[in-house]
């Protein structure tokens, strides 16, 4: 007894489930005798006729307000021809599906009962849309992901390019005119004057001697190597004689300062002002 009731409950459940599935698979509702379907969504309708199977009109195209295709066919034992049709509404409105059908034998579809279907649209009436050829929405920051990506990439590339180009085009600021480099003689002059007055400090005496080296190096056009240059200067008849006397004055153990006359003679060659620039 219990087993029978259990079987009955299972059958009931199965029927209800099948009913739900069928109901959900048909996106069509029957209100006021009209089949209703959402625009662009496939709807189904079953057409029974005693004159034969029907099918969609062969001249239907994407511009037609409604498109029809055959989903299944059956010929019942009672002689009725059953055709299950799928249709897609392109435009919103109420249509008689018979206008989109033909009989296999080519007979008039007026032999069928009217087949009104209503195509409803969930979009606003003025929303531009096309069921089959969706127009790309205009690129905006909020939408058009690919476009936005392209724009960002271009900007990403352009920024350094712009920076580099601007830097290249930027005019360098006019460098401040450097003060003329003091010539060796400019630097020698005060030291020579102080030497004549015997007021040179140790540091000044050191600088005086090294400036004399630099003076002769430039005057004789000697190489950059200071050691080699000094060797050559010492071998020069004029420069060597003067330099050795300066060395004896500044470095010799007796340390005798030259007399005013000697000093004048010693420093005389450095009195001529020539345009030399300290290297």
């Amino acid at each position: 007894m219990r087993r029978r009731s259990s079987i009955r409950a299972r059958r009931t459940t199965a029927i209800l489930a099948a009913g739900c599935i069928v109901a959900s698979s048909f996106a069509v509702s029957q209100e006021g005798g009209e089949e209703a379907a959402t625009r662009g969504i496939t709807g189904r309708i079953v057409v029974e006729s005693e004159h034969g199977h029907v099918r969609g009109r062969p001249d239907l195209d994407l511009d037609s307000p409604i498109l029809v295709r055959v989903a299944a066919r059956d010929h019942r034992p009672d002689g009725r021809w059953v055709t299950e049709l799928e249709f897609i509404g392109v435009d919103a409105g109420v249509f008689d599906l018979r206008d989109s059908l033909v009989f296999d034998d080519g007979g008039p579809t007026e032999r069928l009962e009217p087949l009104p279907v209503e195509i409803v649209s969930n979009l606003a009436s003025d929303a531009p849309s096309d069921v089959f050829l969706a127009e790309a929405p205009p690129a905006t920051i909020a939408g058009g992901y690919r476009t936005v990506l392209v724009v960002v990439a271009v900007a990403w590339t352009l920024v350094p390019v712009v920076v580099v180009v601007r830097r290249l085009l930027r005019r360098p600021p006019t460098p401040p005119v450097p003060p003329p480099s003091p010539t060796i003689l400019d630097r020698l002059e005060p030291l020579v004057r102080r030497a004549a007055d015997r007021q040179l400090t140790v540091d000044e005496r050191g600088r005086l001697e090294l400036l004399l080296h630099a003076h002769w190096r430039m005057r004789l056009g000697l190489e950059d190597d200071p050691a080699a240059a000094v060797r050559r200067i010492r071998r020069d008849p004029e420069a060597g004689r003067l330099l050795r006397r300066v060395e004896a004055w500044l470095h010799a153990p007796d340390g005798r300062s030259p007399s005013a006359a000697e000093l004048g003679e010693l420093l005389a060659p450095y009195g001529d002002r020539v345009p030399e620039v300290v290297s």
Partner: protein, 333 residues
């Protein structure tokens, strides 16, 4: 010994004669390299140590041995290798099987002139042992400390090309060398003369056999000088006058290396001391009793270059220590 009066003569000419005699004696064996002979003499006269850098085969060992022979100095040579131990240099205690006690075996460091060939091939531990001996002029073997002979001069060599498997001397160790001199290849004429001299070498007979003589066999046995002549010369060097102006120049040069924008490491005060001392010796060699700027200008490269280190930016720009030093010398005034 007939020229030994050179150092006993008073006056500035004594040093010049001493140097000329040594150079002449060395020149009978070694062709050219007068500057290196001068540097070795400077090191000998001032008690500094010398690092010679040069590719193999330019007579570094022969030169040092010839100078040692010219002044009658005891000469020893150590070839530095990776497996050398400190005891191989300074010596060790050895168990005498007959007496059953330990006896001291003195290493090759106990000599006047020690040639440390390819010093950068030994491990830092060995380098350190030698450099300590150089600094302190004494070594410890077991529990006892031994003074090294006087004079004691280390002349180390480095091959600047082959650096694989070597231990570069750190700056602190390099600083202990008074001078680092780079040897160049001989000139064309000098090299031709080297070859000609090689052609004149004969066979050295040993019993019934013989081996070809080498340049080492051609070093004169007779020494024109004795160690005491060197000592006198060293005394004379100490009498060479160094003016305040000269000291100012040397210190200025050294301090400028510390402020130069291309240098990461400048010279230590030891460099200034070395520059003044070496200049004194050079003045003596050139027959002057006072040092002049030419002396420190000539020695600046050998005193300064191994004590400075270029910074990354300067290295990236391809600058060399020589360039920086030349710039400093040019701006010294």
């Amino acid at each position: 010994m007939n020229d030994s009066n050179a150092t006993t003569d008073a006056g500035p000419a004594a040093g010049e004669a001493f140097a000329r005699t040594v150079s002449t004696s060395v020149a009978r064996t070694v062709v050219g390299q007068e500057v290196v002979v001068e540097r070795i003499l400077i090191a000998l006269l001032t008690g500094g140590h010398l690092l010679l850098e040069g590719v193999p085969g330019i007579a570094k060992t022969l030169l040092v041995q010839a100078v040692g022979r010219a002044i009658d100095l005891e000469f020893k040579r150590i070839q530095f290798t990776i497996d050398l131990l400190p005891s191989d240099i300074v010596g060790s205690e050895i168990l005498d099987p007959e007496s059953g006690s330990f006896r001291i075996h003195k290493g090759p460091a106990f000599t006047n002139l020690l040639l440390a060939d390819e010093i950068n091939r030994a491990s830092p531990k060995v380098q350190s042992a030698l450099l300590e001996a150089m600094q302190e002029r004494r070594v410890s073997i077991g529990d006892t400390t031994h003074d090294l002979p006087a004079p004691f001069l280390v002349i180390a060599t480095q091959n600047p090309v082959e650096q694989a498997g070597t231990f570069e001397l750190p700056e602190a160790q390099l600083d202990r060398f008074m001078l680092r001199h780079r040897l160049d290849y001989p000139t064309f004429d000098e090299e031709a003369e080297v070859v000609r001299r090689g052609l004149q070498l004969k066979l050295k007979r040993q019993g019934d056999g013989a081996v070809p003589m080498s340049a080492f066999d051609a070093i004169e046995e007779a020494s024109p000088f004795h160690v005491r002549d060197l000592t006198k010369a060293m005394e004379r060097v100490l009498e060479v006058h160094v003016s305040d102006v000269f000291v100012r120049d040397c210190v200025e040069l050294v301090t400028m290396t510390r402020d130069h924008p291309d240098l990461e490491l400048g010279c230590s005060p030891r460099a200034a001391i070395a520059l003044v001392n070496a200049s004194r010796a050079r003045a003596f060699i050139h027959g002057r009793d006072y040092a002049v700027p030419e002396d420190f200008l000539a020695l600046a490269e050998d005193v300064v270059l191994h004590r400075i280190r270029l910074n990354y930016e300067a290295l990236a720009e391809g600058r060399r220590g020589e360039d920086v030093l030349r710039e400093i010398l040019a701006n010294l005034a």
